[in-house]
């Protein structure tokens, strides 16, 4: 017997595929044992592939495709919520459906709960005010700053919106500059334009203009 024979035993019979299949069975087993703290999944959308993270409390994060933020957000979830993170189509299904309906223009507000454990400090006030901007309307950084009682804090508002862990659902794309310029978006300005177009927002000034 050569020791390589044993290595061959370990690899035979579609080993790579079999190990993937066994791993894919884990999330449901984990959920049955109450061990699936954070379920993650992906979905396609008009603004590219979306990554969603759902906990027992609700939707905790959304990240855009090719976003460095996805790994960052996973790290923050591991630290602030739980490292028991597994992909699970089943556990993310309800939220993915609501998002699908939104992108199909069949839904103008989200009803499932969100998990705000990734949001802290001033961002919590900023994002709460942002959540009140209705579908199809826009507000400005200055207006949000005023609403949270810090009228001169437009920059801090911008930063808080840039770090929004649940874009789209907490509609930071509906916040623009006072001049009507779109200013910026963590997911890229193209996505901001696309989302506002989707909602049929009429912007003061030309869309995407200076």
């Amino acid at each position: 017997m050569k020791t390589n024979d044993l290595k061959r035993l370990a690899r035979r019979g579609g080993f790579e595929e079999r190990s993937r299949a066994a791993a894919a069975g884990l999330p449901d087993l984990a959920a049955a044992d109450g061990l699936l703290d954070v379920a993650v999944g992906t979905m396609s959308s008009p603004v590219g592939e979306l990554f969603v993270a759902v906990t027992g409390r609700g939707l905790a994060a959304i990240a855009f495709e090719g976003d460095r933020y996805r790994d960052l957000v996973l790290g923050r979830i591991a630290q602030l919520i739980s490292p028991r993170i597994l992909p699970s189509p089943r556990a993310t299904d309800a939220w993915r459906r609501e998002l699908d309906e939104y992108f199909a223009a069949e839904r103008t507000r989200f009803e499932l709960p969100v998990d705000r454990r990734l949001i802290h400090g001033i961002a919590s006030d900023v994002l709460k005010q942002t959540s009140k901007i209705p579908f199809g309307e826009v507000s400005t950084y200055g207006a949000i700053a005023k609403k949270i009682g810090h009228p001169s804090a437009a920059r801090a508002v911008g930063r808080a919106l840039g770090a929004n862990p649940i874009p789209i659902v907490i509609p930071c794309h509906r916040v623009i500059g006072a001049s009507g310029a779109l200013t910026g978006y963590a997911g890229g300005l193209d996505r901001k334009v696309r989302l506002l177009e989707l909602e049929g927002s009429v912007l003061p000034g030309s869309l995407g203009g200076a």
Partner: protein
């Protein structure tokens, strides 16, 4: 090459360390749980653990033991902190599962309870079936030690750590197991 995931090394805070005081960092390092998301940990160790269990428990039980191993890990995962080599930790759990599996099986075992899968994918199926027959009759601890050594190429010191034995015992388990296999396969 094995992927290595490492949490912060376990180290007592400066005030608890004995001996000659060393230059301490100006700001005390707060040791928090910094394990990676479980899905990354699973993906990094999936192949190694599966290969190990494939030979350690056989093709019929590998899936159950694999899932059992990672479920145990998932249960303990939030409490895993600094100082742990996660890649060793999961193999330690897998080793225990493999040995427990054989012990549980032995209590109500039929000699043919674990028939080899007649796979057509191997270069020499008959020879593989003979090898499976030989592997299956090894005592569990020898079987596990042999797999660590000859499938995963682990050094004896690490096999000792993975199986909770001395290095001498690890060496003896590997040698005796390998010798038996060679005799049976002659």
């Amino acid at each position: 090459m094995e992927p290595t995931l490492r949490a912060f090394p376990a180290q007592a805070p400066p005030c608890l360390r004995r001996g000659r005081p060393r230059a301490a960092p100006a700001i005390a390092v707060v040791v928090t749980s910094t394990v990676p998301p479980f899905q990354d940990f699973l993906e990094a160790n999936r192949a190694t653990v599966y290969r190990f269990l494939m030979v350690a428990v056989g093709p019929n039980d590998v899936d159950d033991c694999f899932q059992d191993t990672f479920l145990s890990a998932l249960r303990a995962y939030p409490r895993v902190t600094g100082g742990e080599h996660l890649d060793r930790w999961i193999l330690r759990i897998a080793s225990r599962k493999a040995i427990d599996h054989h012990r549980a099986g032995a209590r109500h075992a039929l000699p043919t309870a674990d028939p080899p899968e007649r796979a057509a994918t191997s270069e020499d199926p008959t020879r593989d079936d003979d090898l499976w027959d030989a592997v299956r009759v090894l005592p569990p601890r020898q079987r596990v030690a042999v797999v660590h050594r000859h499938v995963l190429d682990r050094p004896y010191a690490e096999i000792a750590d993975l199986m909770g034995t001395s290095e001498e015992t690890a060496r003896a388990n590997v040698h005796q197991g390998t010798k038996k296999l060679r005799e049976m396969m002659r």
